[in-house]
C-alpha cells in the first residue's frame, strides 16, 4: 500500500481505538450518578459536582488521544 493511505488510516484508528475506554468510563459514571440521584434526590447538587469532575478526568484521556491524532494528521 502507498504511504499516503497509512497517513489517512492511522489517525482514524488512533481516535477510534482511543475513545472506546473513555466512553465506557463516562457511561459508567453517568449511570452510577443517575442511580445515586434516584436513590437520594436531595443530594443531587453534590453528586452533580462530583460527577462533572469525574467526567472531566475520564474525558481528559479522550482528549489526549485527540491531540495525538491531530498531531499525526497535521504535523
Amino acid at each position: 500500500m502507498a504511504p499516503d493511505i497509512f497517513r489517512l488510516i492511522i489517525p482514524g484508528l488512533t481516535i477510534t481505538l482511543g475513545v472506546i475506554f473513555p466512553a465506557i468510563a463516562i457511561s459508567k459514571i453517568g449511570t452510577e450518578a443517575m442511580k445515586a440521584i434516584g436513590r437520594n434526590p436531595e443530594a443531587s447538587s453534590k453528586i452533580q459536582t462530583a460527577m462533572i469532575l469525574a467526567i472531566a478526568f475520564a474525558e481528559a484521556i479522550a482528549i489526549y488521544v485527540l491531540v495525538i491524532a491531530l498531531i499525526l494528521k497535521f504535523a
Binding site: T49, I52, L53, A56, E59, A60, I63, Y64, L66, V67, L70, I71, F74, A75
Partner: protein, 229 residues
C-alpha cells in the same frame, strides 16, 4: 485549513504577535476596562447590573467554599479569575469575525483573530500559573511542612504528579477548544448555511464547562496543597 500552531500577524522587534494573542488581549482589555468602569459605579444601594453580578459572585463563592471548606475571599479571587478569563475567552471565540477575517502576511493568507485556547502556549501558561500558584500558597501557609512532603522516598512521585497536573490542565483545555474549532470548520465545509449553529451552541456549553472544570480543579489542588496531612 486549521493549523496546530497560531499564525504570526505582525512582529514588534523579536516579539511575535500571534492571532491568538490578539484575541486574548481583547478579552483582557474587556475584563480590565469593565472592572475599572464598574468599580466607580458601585453603590450602597445596588442597581440592576450590580445586583445581578453580586448574585453570581456570591453564588460562586458559596459553591466554592462548600467545595473546599476555605473561607477566604483572596484565595477565592485567585481561583475565580481563572474562571472569568477562560469563560470570556471561550465565548469571545464564537463572536463573528473570529476565523472569518483574513489578512495578508508575507504573501500568506492568515486569520486575524483565533480562539485564544486553540493555542497550546496559552493553556500551558494557565496550567503553570495554576500549579505554581497553588504550590507557592502552600509554601506560605505550611512553610516547613510543605517542603517535608517532597523530602521522603515518595517525594519524587509527588513532583511527578505536579508535572502531570500541568500537562493535563493544558492539554484538556487545548484539546476541547481545538476540537470545537475543527468541528465547526468541518460542518461549515459540508453545509455552510444554518447547520453550524447547533454546534456553536454546543461550543458555548463546552466553553462554560471547561472554565468550570478548570476552576474546580484549581480549587481542589489548592485545597490539597494548603491543608495539613
Amino acid at each position: 485549513m486549521i493549523s496546530l500552531k497560531p499564525e504570526v500577524v505582525f512582529d514588534i522587534g523579536n516579539f511575535h504577535i500571534t492571532n491568538t494573542y490578539l484575541a486574548s488581549l481583547m478579552a483582557m482589555i474587556f475584563i480590565v476596562s469593565f472592572s475599572i468602569i464598574f468599580n466607580k459605579k458601585i453603590k450602597e444601594i445596588p442597581n440592576k447590573i450590580q445586583t445581578l453580578l453580586e448574585i453570581i459572585y456570591e453564588g460562586f463563592y458559596n459553591f466554592w467554599s462548600n467545595l473546599t471548606g476555605i473561607k477566604n475571599m483572596k484565595i477565592f479571587a485567585f481561583c475565580f479569575a481563572f474562571f472569568i478569563y477562560i469563560l470570556l475567552s471561550n465565548w469571545f471565540g464564537i463572536l463573528p469575525g473570529f476565523g472569518s477575517i483574513y489578512i495578508k502576511h508575507h504573501e500568506e493568507k492568515i486569520h486575524l483573530l483565533r480562539t485564544t485556547y486553540s493555542d497550546l502556549n496559552m493553556t500551558l501558561a494557565l496550567g503553570l500559573i495554576s500549579v505554581i500558584g497553588a504550590n507557592i500558597l502552600g509554601l506560605i501557609k505550611l512553610r516547613f511542612e510543605f517542603i517535608k512532603k517532597f523530602l521522603n522516598p515518595i517525594g519524587l512521585l509527588e513532583l511527578f504528579s505536579e508535572i502531570s497536573k500541568i500537562l493535563s490542565f493544558s492539554l484538556r483545555l487545548f484539546g476541547n477548544i481545538l476540537a470545537g474549532e475543527i468541528l465547526i470548520l468541518s460542518v461549515s465545509l459540508l453545509i455552510p448555511f444554518l447547520a453550524p449553529i447547533p454546534f456553536m451552541l454546543l461550543e458555548i456549553f463546552v466553553g462554560f464547562i471547561q472554565a468550570l472544570i478548570f476552576f474546580i480543579l484549581t480549587s481542589i489542588f489548592l485545597k490539597v496543597a494548603i491543608s495539613h496531612h
